[in-house]
């Protein structure tokens, strides 16, 4: 019995747990939380064993497939890429589920919560191990549906229901693009086969797709007078799907609002499931991007821009979860940027990007769970009302510090000392440097390095505002129960050491994704199809470049320290002299407001952050809302045509017949 034979259980067990918890959860301990935990734990063990197997023998990836209908199949493909993802998703999800026993303790709707998160995890695992893109899309939509249910979990809050709808519909925009990509891909492949598909060949399998890249690359379509390769269209439509799910600009608008759900759900969405699906999709179909002209460059630019843009947004948020949300968007931007670097470094890009994805999952889950712990303790999400929690919650503060250091990327270059974020983020930044060096296009690198500075500032701003200074809240904070702190500690350990242990072997392992017994591709050939010049060997970067990310991170820490801990500029005194009552009531609150408005806005915010924020709120939101409003009012106008008087309906029929006869006549004339 091979462990691979149990692969189908990985998504199946959490799915079964969903059913059981939904129906019997009420009668069980803690809303039946143990069932999903057991199921996901089992999935994790299977995934881990499979990963170890593949690690030992990367040539023997697991591929199983059964006929579904027509020329489609259902199947499982676990190669290095999928194996790593599966392990990460099940592991992080497991920890979050354990934590949720404590976090959701007082919620009456626990069974529903655990059922839905279990299904959410199952769907994400399904996305990861699909061997064909259609099946992947099905699970992809299921992920979206679950996120809808979970973000709107506290539906008594109107804002939660609205956020759920926004998330669902915004990601749907991406999904529609994804579906369009699949349909075009299918039609093109069908054409490549001249409509005669041999028995047992399933067009939408990844292996089959990659085998016919040459045929696809030969197909061109004319759009607005430009010759565009079918492959580019398909790749960019897939990327559209990724933009929606992974919260890239301009479809990132749903992510910050998705904070309306329970914090554990946010952790699940931001760390393990959902948002990583988009990055995974691009990594999974990377050969198509590599052989599509211009596609990777667009990916790189969009990723870089998102990383910087979201980081500026993170600076001005006062809601602790919103800061983290923008941080996620920014870090996802890094991952996408990393993938885009494949234009120069080839498959190494996947390794770098996925490595950051895994590490990010650890420390972002940790950040969210810590934030959840804080919120659980003092009952607010507003950082202006926090402060001084260091003493009350030492474990949370400690783990949060670890996570912040990891996010900011602290470490010593040239050694194996450093947080996981240091190794993975700096790897992306270095790749961006290589990209700049060889293509003389420095914009991605500049984006990346600026975003790193801002990342460090906003995350320590969060840390100092939350844990240091005086308490600004009457609630008596207390450390969370051990069911919550143990997952924190586990994640903290991973955030600290995982990066150091595994960088080089990880990248090599990832490269085997497209070189094994199922999928074996000639990467250089694909890159020539896409007009990319690959640089497979790039030497050690200059010392300054190696140190720059760390210098930037330390600089960010210092700026935050000075502004938020030492408060070198204390504006509150100016205010208090004018209005003592105000000082009494809103001392700290006001200080921060003034600080933001007077000082920071003059330097950074007004120029970048606020205009970005403004742009985001006014422009993007207006466009998204505006399209909705225009269609709505069009609907409102057009429904009035339906007068309700039957004679008018007859008139419409007659008019229709008349117009059709004229149209028909015209067609006859033309033909």
């Amino acid at each position: 019995m091979n462990i691979g034979d149990f692969a189908f259980l990985i998504p199946l067990l959490p799915a079964l747990a969903f059913v059981i918890t939904l129906f019997f959860g009420k009668r069980l301990y803690s809303g039946g939380a143990l069932i999903p935990i057991g199921a996901i734990g089992a999935s994790f063990i299977i995934s881990l064993l499979i990963t170890i197997n593949i690690l030992q023998n990367p040539d023997q990836v697991i591929h199983q497939s059964v006929h579904w209908f027509a020329i489609f199949n259902l199947g499982i493909l676990i190669d290095p890429l999928a194996a790593v993802m599966l392990t990460m998703v099940s592991f992080v999800s497991l920890l979050i589920h354990i934590y949720a026993i404590g976090y959701m303790e007082h919620d009456p709707a626990k069974p529903r919560y655990f059922a839905e998160t279990s299904l959410f995890t199952a769907a994400m695992l399904g996305v990861v191990l699909s061997d064909n893109i259609l099946q992947m899309f099905i699970f992809w939509e299921l992920v979206g549906l679950c996120s809808y249910l979970l973000i709107g979990f506290w539906y008594q809050k109107p804002s939660a229901a609205a956020a759920a709808k926004k998330a669902f519909l915004t990601t749907r925009v991406g999904d529609v693009m994804f579906l369009a990509g699949i349909i075009i891909l299918f039609a093109s492949l069908f054409q490549a086969f001249h409509g005669e598909v041999p028995e047992g060949v399933y067009l939408l399998q990844f292996s089959e797709m990659f085998n016919h890249i040459d045929a696809l690359a030969a197909m061109n379509a004319t759009i607005l007078g430009m010759e565009v390769s079918h492959l580019t269209i398909i790749a960019l439509l897939f990327f559209g799907g990724a933009i929606g799910k992974s919260g890239q600009f301009p479809l990132h608008v749903w992510l910050p609002d998705a904070m309306e759900g329970p914090t554990t759900v946010s952790a699940l969405i931001h760390a393990a499931t959902m948002v990583t699906a988009g990055v995974y999709l691009v990594a999974r179909t990377f050969p198509m991007f590599l052989s599509a002209p211009d596609a990777l460059i667009i990916v790189a630019y969009l990723g870089g821009f998102t990383a910087l843009f979201a980081a500026t947004m993170g600076l001005v948020m006062n809601d602790i979860k919103r800061v983290l949300a923008y941080s996620t968007v920014s870090q996802l931007g890094y991952m996408v940027l990393g993938l885009g670097m494949g234009a120069v470094v080839g498959l190494e890009a996947i390794g770098v990007s996925m490595f950051h994805l895994i590490n990010h999952a650890f420390f972002k889950a940790l950040l969210f769970l810590c934030a959840g712990s804080v919120i659980h303790a003092i009952g607010t999400q507003d950082m202006r009302q926090m402060g001084g929690l260091l003493k009350a919650m030492p474990i949370t503060a400690g783990t949060m510090l670890v996570a912040s250091l990891a996010l900011a990327g602290f470490g010593i270059p040239g050694t194996s000392i450093g947080t996981s974020g240091f190794f993975s983020k700096d790897a992306i930044i270095e790749t961006a440097f290589v990209f700049g060096e060889y293509s003389h296009d420095w914009i991605p690198y500049i984006f990346a390095i600026l975003a790193a500075l801002l990342t460090s500032i906003y995350i320590f701003r969060l840390f100092f505002m939350t844990f240091t200074g005086k308490s600004r809240n009457n609630a008596k904070a207390h450390e969370a129960p051990s069911i919550m702190t143990v997952p924190l500690l586990i994640l903290a350990v991973f955030s600290l050491v995982f990066g150091a242990l595994t960088l080089k072997p990880f990248i090599a392992f990832m490269e085997r994704t497209f070189d094994n017994n199922v999928i074996s591709l000639n990467i250089e050939h694909l890159a020539t199809l896409g007009n990319y010049d690959l640089v497979l060997e790039h030497g050690p970067e200059p010392l300054f470049i190696l140190w720059l990310p760390v210098i930037v991170a330390v600089a960010g820490l210092l700026i935050s320290y000075l502004l938020y801990y030492k408060q070198v500029i204390d504006v509150s005194k100016v205010v208090s002299r004018e209005n003592p009552v105000y000082k009494l009531l809103y001392n700290r609150y006001y200080q921060h407001k003034i600080f933001t408005e007077l000082l920071a806005t003059r330097i950074v915010y007004e120029l970048i952050s606020l205009s970005a924020d403004y742009f985001d709120r006014k422009f993007i939101d207006t466009i998204v809302d505006g399209i909705g409003k225009i269609t709505m009012s069009a609907g409102n106008f057009m429904r009035k045509i339906q007068t309700g008087v039957v004679q008018n309906y007859v008139a419409a029929v007659v008019a229709g017949v008349g117009l059709l006869i004229i149209l028909f006549r015209l067609i006859v004339e033309v033909i």
Partner: protein, 483 residues
Amino acid sequence: MEDILLLAPEIILAVTALVVLVAGLYLKTEHKVALGFISVAGIIMAIALTMSIMLAKTSASMFYDTMVIDPLSQVFKLVFLSVALLVSIASVKYVSEDRNTEEFFALLLLAIIGMMVVSSSNDLITLFLGFELAGLATYALVGFEKKNIKVLEASMKYFIIGAVSSAFLLFGMSYVYGMTGTTNIPGIAANAHLLVDNPIGIVAIVMLIAGFGYKMSLVPFHMWAPDTYQGAPSVISALLAGASKKMGFIAAFKVIIVALIALNAEWQTIFAVLAVITMTLGNVVALSQDSVKRMLAYSSVAQAGYISMAFVVLTPTALAGGILYILSHAFMKAGAFIAVAIVGFMILVGNKDARDTDHIDNFRGLSKRMPITAFALMVFLLALAGIPATAGFVSKFVLFSSTIEAGLVWLAVIAILNSAISLFYYARVIKYMYFMPTEGGRITEPAPYAIAMILALVAVLVIGIWPEPFIYWASEAANVLLI
């Protein structure tokens, strides 16, 4: 004589209808539930027979080539019979306290016979007769609650527009007959060159499109549909959207694709225009509806636009996709309307004189009050929006990809954009059901309604998860159209 046995399903239904009608005279109102069971039994027998004929892949023509049996006819008969089964099961509850139960079931069965005759017809005469039989029976069914002015208004509009359209249809047919000298469909196809370049031919085709377009509810012949679907009893709306509309498609397939294939260049363009207008108007207007039934009606208009794409693309895959879509839509829409009927029942339990039972406010917190119905309705709505693992996704996928394959990318893009819009109004109902608080208590669904709804749910999911046999039969049916 052997041929007659191939029409056994129709004969069984006819006998059942007569038996129900007469038996109803001698039963007391409280015993009339039995009539529902008789009808259901008759329909199940008819389904079994139709299926056995279909699986044997029988092809035959009878009555001097006015009726044919082939995969196409059998597939459509199964669509009609399945919807009839759902509707009649649900109606066991709906008409349980009515003294005219026998009329209801007899009319339902007659309507189905009419639709089955259309799907088997090979001659304009039989086609028109079947069309009208189904039409007449449904006019009466829509107006079944004859004390309710809304129902009567729905019935009146349906009747007037229906009668006008059948006049158009007949007028068009008379021209086709006059030009080609025959009413036999293959005969017309053989003589269709006589219609080309003839002004009367143009008028005839447009009138035929108008006549069928009314049943298919293509814009601008759709105006009756929202009013009628909204006003009619929900189970009858299920019948109209699930079966009666599909009869328009099979009739149009037969007359326009088979008989008038020689003029395909012209009517393909016309259908392209109609399809785009229909799906866009349907989806956009559906956005701002507060009555769920009316929203479903507009969604049904939009879906007719998608299905009409099959006329434009006209490849075997596209037609198979269209037929598969027809099959899936029958279950999705019928199921959705039955779910709305259950909600209506729930509201009426709470307040006997409640009006507008299908108003969206009544769906608040449905997941608390009737979890099964809420879940089923959610699945139906998601299926209508084309979310994967449901019937709606598979059929949309086949239809849209065949459109792109045929090079009509612009049409596919419009359709995909439209299906993106459609999610907005479906999501709204789901939001009301799952994310809105309610004061009402929990209510158990009446068994007949629940059975019908769950059957539809199973069908939607089965087609979505294991579409292989359905696609196979849809392609078999499509092959009949394009010989």
